[in-house]
């Protein structure tokens, strides 16, 4: 360990102990002009954010080694490397092991060496011909299934030792489980709606093909950011292996894990068969997680058996009131839809995934109406009431007898508009909004740089106060005047560490506490950061800082996703290469015509 590493570690530990608003200044003072030291500390800070993934990976690896004890004894797994299956798939590396069996990465020699995933079933009951046929039937059905949100099964086959395997599309991205963990801030309604549509669509298609998934959970769903800023979800893992266990009766070696239990419907604990109803239950849990970031039932038992009993009891008692407690801004109707899906008795749940999806989506439509998104599309029922975030002290409109839904909604809309304004002026920016940032700033429009083309003659916003040149540590603020309501995002693009490296982007606005965490604005003037807070300042790598102001009449899904994932982690800094590329894409023109982008440069001598 070098002296610099030791020093970096000491400073890093002191940094962790400081309140957030002092961290940035502290690092600036401690590092002085030592860029190497600063870089080492920045890496520790970003490692700190990723460290829980490391713990999980270590745990998974330990579990894999334990499984490997068996595998190496039978001598079958290691022999796989370099093997060519079906005359075309070359096994390259072992990715891990899941419920199905061991998972390998391979290349398809017949198709431009594209990457594929090969899943080899664990040794189970492969000498049982009936079960093997059942497996082949289901995997065939999967091979025929063609749905954008279901991972493609490309091929199947049998190893020399008789173990069946599946060849599947290689899906990039991260699991929904990880994705939800990253999001310190709740998902935007549009994101939830889109994910619900895709996930339910996928499961519906699987059911239509006559297959029960049996293992729906957030870790079996992959989420990927598309270049156009939308999200694609993909169902990747099927509980095919469970067919073997479910039907073999005698030996219950069902791979129960702590991660699987929360998604299992009560009847499965009692030895019942997996069904559409048990898949609907799991979907209920997943949608609950999308909305709240947590699960409806949390068992605390220390052993598997204790947890099973606990989950069963919790399900019997029901999840009533839980959504309302976590998300008072959502409607009773939405909670009801979830409660039906989460019913203890399978016959009380929705009979199809489509029914569940419709119930959730129509409840959401209603929320959009309440939020004032689409006043022409009012579908409020007679008994619905308007809900407003509890931290805003506004009276609920009381329905008058005989009044029409539309009449009751309009005052509600007004109230919401007022509430948004109130949140805006009350919350301002949290302390330490800019602190700890490596490189950020803003200054008056640089005359040497022409702004991006604007969609119309009257720009929807005007930014003033961005300096052309600013020395490190000097504070400044900017003022934004909104001429039109819309969504507003403020990003900084740091100088590159090396000419070939990707720039860092940081969402300066909105932060988690700004404007209630939302990007939407009515017409107003806004000082960023508010005068009560410390201003922006720069430290770290010198060079040209770019400030991007982005306005759009619609929210920009990719920005919402990225900023909510980034907020709370080093105040909005974006470091993932795929996310950086998507942001660069939008800033360089891959966006809707109505979106207005202004770009300012600040020199940092």
């Amino acid at each position: 360990m070098t002296e610099r590493e030791r020093l970096a570690m000491t400073i890093f530990e002191q940094y962790l102990d400081l309140p957030p608003e002092e961290q940035g200044e502290f690092l600036r003072l401690r590092c002085g002009g030592d860029a190497e030291l600063r870089r080492e500390i920045d890496l520790l800070i970003s490692s700190d954010r990723e460290a829980n993934r490391l713990s999980e990976a270590v745990r998974a690896e330990i579990a894999d080694v334990a499984a490997g004890v068996r595998v190496s004894q039978s001598g079958s797994s290691m022999a796989m490397f370099g093997a060519v299956l079906n005359g075309r798939y070359v096994i390259e590396s072992r990715i891990g092991s899941g419920g199905v069996g061991v998972v390998f990465r391979a290349r398809d020699q017949r198709l431009h060496n594209r990457q594929v995933v090969v899943k080899v079933l664990r040794e189970t009951k492969r000498d049982d011909q009936w079960l093997l046929n059942k497996f082949l039937q289901e995997s065939e059905a999967l091979t025929r299934l063609d749905h954008p949100n279901v991972v493609k099964v490309l091929d199947q086959g049998t190893l020399a030792d008789g173990r069946p395997f599946l060849v599947m599309e290689f899906v990039k991205g991260e699991s929904l489980e990880e994705f939800l963990k990253l999001g310190a801030v709740r998902l935007e309604p549009e994101t939830v709606v889109s994910l619900v549509r895709q996930i339910c669509g996928a499961v519906g298609a699987v059911h239509a093909a006559g297959i029960i998934h049996r293992d729906l959970k957030t870790s079996n769903l992959m989420v990927k950011l598309n270049p156009d800023g939308t999200l694609t979800a993909k169902l990747i893992d099927f509980g095919i292996a469970k067919i073997f266990e479910a039907t073999s009766g005698m030996q219950t070696t069902t791979p129960l894990t702590v991660g699987t239990l929360p998604y299992m419907a009560a009847e499965l604990f009692d030895g019942g068969e997996a069904s559409v109803a048990s898949d609907v239950y799991a979907l209920g849990v997943i949608v609950f997680e999308l909305l709240t970031g947590t699960r409806p039932f949390l068992a605390r038992g220390s052993s598997l058996v204790a947890q099973i009993l606990e989950y069963r009891n919790l399900q019997e008692r029901g999840a009533g009131g839980k959504l309302a407690a976590l998300r008072p801004d959502l409607t009773e109707r939405l909670e009801k839809a979830l409660l039906v899906a989460l019913s203890f008795r399978p016959e009380d749940r929705y009979r199809t995934v489509r029914e569940f999806e419709n119930a959730v989506l129509s409840a959401f439509q209603e929320i959009e109406v309440e939020a004032g998104v689409n006043p022409d599309d009012i579908t409020l029922g007679k008994n619905e009431t308007l809900r407003i975030s509890p931290n805003v002290n506004v009276e609920r409109p009381v329905a008058k007898a005989g009044s029409e839904g539309r009449d009751r909604v309009l005052p509600g809309l007004l109230l919401v508009v007022i509430a948004v304004g109130a949140i805006l002026s009350l919350t301002g920016f949290p302390p330490g909004f800019m602190s700890g940032k490596k490189t950020n700033t803003v200054a008056p429009p640089n005359p040497s740089v022409s702004p991006q083309p604007v969609a119309n003659d009257a720009p929807p916003f005007v930014v003033t106060g961005i300096p052309a040149r600013v020395t490190d540590g000097k504070e400044f603020r900017l003022t934004v005047e909104f001429k039109q309501a819309g969504y507003f995002y403020l990003l900084s693009e740091s100088p590159k560490l090396r000419p070939d490296s990707l720039p860092d982007y940081t969402f300066l606005f909105p932060g988690p506490g700004d404007n209630g965490g939302a990007a939407r604005f009515e017409k107003a003037n806004l000082v960023i950061p508010p005068t009560a807070q410390p201003g922006f300042f720069f430290s770290g790598t010198k060079g040209t800082e770019r400030i991007w102001c982005v306005w759009s009449p619609e929210s920009i899904p990719i920005f919402e996703t990225v900023r909510t994932a980034a907020n709370g982690r080093e105040e909005g800094a974006i470091r993932k290469p795929d996310q950086i590329q998507v942001i660069q894409g939008i800033l360089s023109g891959n966006r809707t015509a109505a979106t207005v982008v202004r770009d300012y440069r600040i020199e940092r001598p």
Binding site: L44, M78, R105
Partner: protein
């Protein structure tokens, strides 16, 4: 109760009373017993060992089978868990070495921890982790002990505090920075 229960309990008590020699006799005993327990579990659970083999489970199982609870207090318990954590680490790393002995490097590329496109979970090379832990031991003994116990014993921060004689808050603090350092260390070459 197992054959060694009495002996292990005696050694644990003796060690707790300051007999440092007791520890040297205790570790190999615990090592053998933990291996047996792991094997038994493997036999019982068939190919789904992965799902039951968690250090926490093994260590708890070992404790209930190897230690006569009527004769020990919480301090003995904490110490037993401490030893078990160290021992589990050895077992796991040994197994890992054996498992991947012929395939490290060469034509088989380990999927590195920082590689973003791994389908499920990023992989950690446990031998690299072990080496990093040794490096940590040479530099900060306490961080090393905390990390080892967190990964390989399933003790809570509070219990680790009991083993090491520090507050839970200290354990939390040190664990956080040790984790960050480990992550930094394991991703160093790929930066």
């Amino acid at each position: 109760m197992e054959a060694h229960t009495g002996e292990i309990t005696n050694l644990l008590i003796a060690w707790n009373q300051g007999d440092s020699n007791a520890l040297n006799r205790l570790i190999p005993l615990v090592y053998d017993e933990l291996r047996k327990i792991a094997r038994n579990m493997a036999g019982r659970q068939g190919s789904n060992l992965r799902d039951v083999f968690q250090p926490t489970v093994i260590v708890h199982e070992a404790y209930s089978r190897l230690v006569d609870e009527s004769r020990v207090d919480w301090k003995n318990r904490a110490h037993f868990y401490g030893i078990a954590g160290r021992t589990i680490r050895r077992i796991i790393v040994d197994e890992y070495r054996k498992l991947y002995a012929d395939k490290r490097g060469g034509e088989w590329q380990q999927v590195s921890f920082s590689e973003a496109d791994a389908v499920h979970m990023p992989r950690v090379d446990l031998i690299e982790l072990d080496a990093a832990l040794e490096k940590l031991e040479g530099w900060d003994e306490r961080k090393f002990r905390i990390t080892e116990l967190r990964f390989f014993s399933g003790l809570t921060n509070f219990e680790i505090g009991e083993v090491l004689g520090v507050s839970e808050k200290t354990v939390e603090r040190e664990w956080r920075s040790a984790k960050a350092w480990l992550h930094r260390e394991l991703t160093r070459e790929t930066q």
